[in-house]
C-alpha cells in the first residue's frame, strides 16, 4: 500500500504541469468568453438605446436579461472543457506509452521496482481519476469567479442571477461533468473509470503482444463495452422493454463490476507474466 501511494505521488507530480496548463487555459479562455458575451450584449443594449431610445425595461423586453447562461452556451466556455476532456483521454494513453517511448525507457525502472506491478496500474488509474476530478473541481471554482467578473462588468439592472445548480441543470455538458444527483454522479464516473480500466488493459495487451496485441486489445475494448450495454440493447430489441429500467440498470451494474474485475485480473496477469520492455 505504501508503494502504491509513493507511485501515486510520483504520477501526480508528472501530471501536475499538464493540469496547471489546462486549468490556466480553461480559465483564460472562459474569461475571454465572459467579456465577449458581455460586449455583444452591451453593444445590443447600446444600439437599442441610441437608435430606438429604448428604456431599460424595453431593452429587457427585446433582448432579455444577461445571465451567465449566455457565457456557458458559448464556444469560449464549452471549447476549453472539450479540450480538457480530449487531453485527459490522450493522457490515458500517454501515461503508459511515454514510459516506453520517452527519451529514456523508464518502464525498465518501473517494472523492476520491488513492489507488486499492479500498483503501477492502480497508481496510473487513480492519477487519471484525480486529474479529472481536479479539473471538474477547478471548473466549479472558475465558474464562480467568472460569474463575479460578469457581475462587476455588466450593469446590475441587466443581470439575471442564476445559481450554479440552475446552470448545471440547463446545460447538458455541465450536467455530464457535474451530474446533479448522487446516483448519476456515481454512474457517470463509474462508467468513466470502467472505460479507463478497459483502455488500460487494451494498452497492456498491445505492450505485451505488440501488433497482435493491438488487434486483441481493440477487440477487447469493443467486446467489453458491448457486454456492459448488452442488457440495454436486448431489452430494447428482442425483449421489447420486458424489463423495467431499474432492472436493466442493475444488470448493467453487475456486468460492469464483472468486466471491471476481469479487466483488472487480466492486466495484473499481463504485467506479471507477459509484459515486454
Amino acid at each position: 500500500m505504501k508503494n502504491f501511494f509513493k507511485l501515486l505521488n510520483f504520477e501526480l507530480n508528472r501530471v501536475m504541469k499538464l493540469l496547471i496548463i489546462l486549468m490556466g487555459f480553461t480559465f483564460i479562455v472562459q474569461l475571454v468568453g465572459v467579456f465577449v458575451s458581455k460586449n455583444n450584449y452591451l453593444t445590443q443594449v447600446e444600439m437599442l438605446q441610441q437608435n430606438d431610445g429604448s428604456s431599460v425595461s424595453q431593452v429587457l423586453q427585446t433582448i432579455g436579461y444577461f445571465s451567465f447562461d449566455r457565457v456557458v452556451n458559448s464556444l469560449f466556455f464549452i471549447g476549453p472543457i472539450m479540450i480538457c476532456v480530449a487531453a485527459i483521454l490522450f493522457y490515458v494513453f500517454l501515461i503508459w506509452y511515454r514510459d516506453w517511448f520517452g527519451k529514456n525507457t523508464f518502464v525498465y525502472r518501473l517494472l523492476m521496482l520491488p513492489t507488486e506491478r499492479i500498483n503501477l496500474f492502480f497508481a496510473k488509474l487513480t492519477t487519471i481519476v484525480l486529474a479529472t476530478l481536479s479539473l471538474v473541481g477547478f471548473q466549479l471554482i472558475a465558474i464562480q469567479i467568472e460569474m463575479l467578473v460578469m457581475r462587476w462588468t455588466v450593469p446590475g439592472e441587466y443581470v439575471m442571477e442564476v445559481t450554479l445548480r440552475q446552470l448545471i441543470e440547463f446545460n447538458k455538458i455541465l450536467l455530464l461533468i457535474v451530474p446533479n444527483q448522487f446516483e448519476l454522479f456515481m454512474s457517470f464516473y463509474g462508467a468513466g473509470i470502467l472505460t479507463v480500466v478497459i483502455l488500460f488493459t487494451a494498452i497492456l495487451l498491445e505492450r505485451s503482444y505488440r501488433l497482435k496485441g493491438a488487434l486483441i486489445g481493440g477487440t477487447f475494448v469493443v467486446v467489453a463495452n458491448l457486454l456492459v450495454i448488452l442488457p440495454l440493447i436486448l431489452n430494447e430489441t428482442i425483449f421489447h422493454s420486458f424489463l423495467y429500467n431499474g432492472e436493466v440498470l442493475l444488470i448493467i451494474l453487475a456486468l460492469g463490476v464483472i468486466v471491471l474485475a476481469g479487466s483488472i485480473w487480466l492486466s495484473k496477469r499481463l504485467l506479471d507474466k507477459k509484459i515486454r520492455v
Binding site: 508503494n3 509513493k6 510520483f10 520517452g102 527519451k103 529514456n104 525507457t105 523508464f106 525498465y108 525502472r109 517494472l111 523492476m112 521496482l113 520491488p114 513492489t115 507488486e116 506491478r117 505485451s208 506479471d272 507474466k273 507477459k274 509484459i275 515486454r276 520492455v277
Partner: protein, 229 residues
C-alpha cells in the same frame, strides 16, 4: 545463485534462446559472451521478468522471481532508465524511496569516486557519465546479484578505466555479477566464469582459472577457438 534452466525464447518464428541453461554464483563474476543478436540482453530481461519466455524457468536463490527478489537482484541496462529531467539527486531519492536496501553512504561514495555532480540533470550527461550514474543507481542497492548489460559500450577510455576499477573494489566483492560485454579486454582478468552463447545455445561454459591453469589459454583464446572456427 541465479539458475537459468532450459529457457526458450522465440520472437515470431525466430528462436533466439533454445534450451539455454547456466548458473551465476554469488561472489563470482560471470560473463555472458556472444555476438550481437544472440540473446544476451534477452536473458537479462528474462531474469528480471521484463520479457516472457516460451519455456524454462529462472530461479534466484532457489525461488522464482517475485517482487521481493528485486531487492536482491538489480539490473543495470546499457541505456538510461531514469527520467531525463531528473537530476542525479532526484534519481537517488527515487531509488531511496522504493528500495529498502538502498545504501545512501555507498551512493555518496560512488558519486565522489566518479566525480559526478548531484545537481546535474540526467539528460545533460555525457555517455560516460550516464553509464556511471547507471552503475551508481544499481550498485548503491545492497543487492546480492547485479546484472550488467554492456557497461563499457560506447564510452571513453577514461570512463572505462573508472568503471573497470569498480569491479576490483568492495562495491562488487561478495556479490554475484552477471555481465555481458564486447570489451572483454577491460575485465578479462577479473572474470571468474564465462558462458559462451552461440546460435541461441550455450556453446561452452568454463571457469577462467581452470582454462588458464590446465590449458594455458586466456578467455580471448577460447573465444577465438569457438567463434572463429
Amino acid at each position: 545463485m541465479i539458475e537459468v534452466k532450459d529457457i526458450v525464447k522465440r520472437f515470431g518464428r525466430k528462436t533466439v534462446l533454445d534450451q539455454v541453461s547456466f548458473t551465476a554464483e554469488k561472489g563470482q563474476i560471470t560473463c555472458l559472451i556472444g555476438v550481437n543478436g544472440m540473446g544476451k540482453t534477452t536473458i537479462m530481461n528474462a531474469i528480471m521478468k521484463l520479457t516472457p519466455l516460451q519455456a524454462g524457468e529462472i530461479l534466484v536463490d532457489g525461488e522464482k522471481v517475485k517482487k521481493d527478489t528485486f531487492e536482491k537482484i538489480v539490473f543495470i541496462p546499457d541505456a538510461t532508465i531514469m527520467l531525463p529531467h531528473f537530476t542525479i539527486e532526484m534519481a537517488m531519492e527515487f531509488m531511496k524511496d522504493f528500495y529498502q536496501n538502498w545504501n545512501q553512504r555507498r551512493a555518496d561514495d560512488m558519486l565522489a569516486f566518479f566525480k559526478l555532480n548531484r545537481k546535474d540533470k540526467i539528460a545533460s550527461l555525457s555517455k560516460g557519465n550516464t553509464a556511471k550514474v547507471n552503475l551508481l543507481l544499481g550498485l548503491a542497492v545492497d543487492a546480492d546479484y547485479i546484472l550488467m548489460d554492456e557497461p563499457f559500450s560506447g564510452i571513453d577510455i577514461f570512463s572505462r578505466e573508472q568503471i573497470a576499477e569498480v569491479f576490483t573494489s568492495h562495491l562488487i566483492e561478495d556479490r554475484g555479477v552477471l555481465i555481458t560485454t564486447h570489451e572483454i579486454g577491460d575485465i578479462e582478468h577479473l572474470i571468474d566464469k564465462v558462458v559462451l552463447l552461440n546460435d541461441g545455445k550455450i556453446q561452452k561454459e568454463f571457469m577462467t582459472e581452470d582454462v588458464r591453469e590446465s590449458e594455458g589459454k586466456s578467455v580471448i583464446d577460447v573465444l577465438r577457438e569457438v567463434f572463429v572456427q
